[in-house]
């Protein structure tokens, strides 16, 4: 009955492709928030470089001497931008948490969900998903605090990376449990944790498969950058389009991951329910 990581990813690709509307919801949200963040900075930037030879030189590569002057003369703008940026990032994360409930619901099965049902699912799972995100961030923070003095050593760096990876995997499968199971919060947390531990090969396997897909997308993007001439107008237009295609592909790989982990959890959880003694009684 169990499905492996490759089958889970195959199901993930299929479900992410079928639910193409989600792409545009995530893309639209990302576009609007990125515009809020980028516009003030780009405006300051444009004022500084549009009339100077230093700005013209920026077409051919980054100019650190110009950047030092830019920071010196626009220090206040950059300082006042930081709190605004943090606030926008926080709002974005909260909206993403709200939407994640709807996304999981759509991607974990073949059922069609309407817009209002999508929002209802989002609000239903919002607080459990927010709680798990807060728990995840707190654990990551405590981990960083614990090893911050030792990070100069490569052994601790490796341990840190592995620990962060494990925490993220565990949190993700708890999220899947939150949406798929009907139970109280802590039972779902327990079930998500035990599922990840019992099916470690499949759960971590899904992660590695999705990481390979993401690495291929990133590799393609860098390959494009190395061959594209962004000093001419046509090259700049192509770069703008490629940047947006890259973002869409990243969203696609993220949705594949959502769908794959939901499929893995949904298909393989029967085994856990079967070994539960209370259920047997």
């Amino acid at each position: 009955l169990n499905i492996g990581p490759f089958k889970a990813v195959r199901i993930g690709v299929k479900r992410a492709a079928v639910n193409w509307r989600i792409w545009f919801v995530v893309y639209g949200l990302n576009f609007v928030f990125a515009a809020f963040l980028a516009l003030p900075l780009a405006e300051t930037f444009a004022k500084d470089i549009s009339k100077s030879v230093a700005g013209r030189d920026l077409l051919y590569g980054f100019n650190y001497r110009w950047y030092t002057g830019f920071v010196t003369s626009n220090g206040n703008v950059l300082q006042s931008f930081l709190p605004q940026a943090i606030l926008i990032f926080l709002i974005y994360i909260i909206i993403e948490i709200f939407l994640a409930g709807g996304f999981y619901s759509m991607l974990c099965g073949n059922q069609k969900i309407g817009f209002w049902e999508f929002l209802a699912r989002g609000s239903r799972y919002f607080f459990p998903l927010l709680s798990i995100t807060v728990l995840e961030c707190t654990t990551l923070f405590l981990l960083c605090l614990a090893i911050r003095g030792e990070l100069s050593e490569s052994v601790y760096q490796s341990i840190g990376v592995i620990a962060v990876f494990i925490i993220i995997v565990l949190s993700d499968f708890i999220r899947a449990a939150i949406v798929i199971d009907d139970d109280n919060f802590w039972s779902k947390v327990k079930r998500g944790l035990s599922f990840t531990a019992l099916h470690s090969l499949s759960t971590f396997g899904v992660y590695f498969c999705c990481m390979i897909i993401s690495a291929m997308v990133i590799g393609l993007f860098f390959l494009f950058h190395s061959v594209n001439d962004s000093t001419i107008s046509a090259g700049i237009i192509v770069e703008i389009l490629a940047g947006q295609i890259f973002v869409l592909l990243r969203i696609f790989s993220k949705l594949i991951f959502y769908a794959a982990e939901a499929a893995l959890y949904k298909e393989n959880q029967i085994e856990i329910i079967n070994v539960n003694p209370e259920m047997l009684e």
């Binding site: 990125a34 009339k51 700005g55 013209r56 001497r65 110009w66 030092t68 995840e136 700049i236 940047g243």
Partner: protein, 177 residues
Amino acid sequence: VNFYNGRLTISAVPFFILLISPFSLHDIGWLFDRYICGVNTVDFAVKSISYYKETDLNTNASTFFTQVVVTSSGWTRPDSNNVSAPIDLRLAFEDGTVIDTSWSETGDNIPIRQTFTFKTKSAPVYAQLDPWNKITDDFNYANNSLMVHDFLRPVVKWADRIFDFFQNALLSTGVLV
């Protein structure tokens, strides 16, 4: 530095100034007093560039009159000896030619703002102070030059890169969701 048996040996700065001053055609006290030993910052700037065109109706030949206003602040100002630091100025034209000149004056009432006028056969493209980056501690390099017309390609390119950066940064926060 002192000459000792025909060789240079390390000595105090005042002696070094005394040693090289006779060989220099200009007063270079500013170099030691303000640039090397001073703590003031420096900022050169091209404040404006404007031009007008005159056409001879008989020969149909055009002449361009260009005015460039430059300023300096910080240690380049005239010192007690009324000597200012010299700075190179380059003016580039549409036909690819350039005019290189320098702003270096001595005497009373040296202005920290100077207007240069050029009469040429081609329209100007940009004016640039210190084109060879000799004054390395000019704290705002961006205002060292001014183009006659806005050059939008780098603006579009870098605005897109800033936008891309934030799009990807926002997507990367998805690891927490």
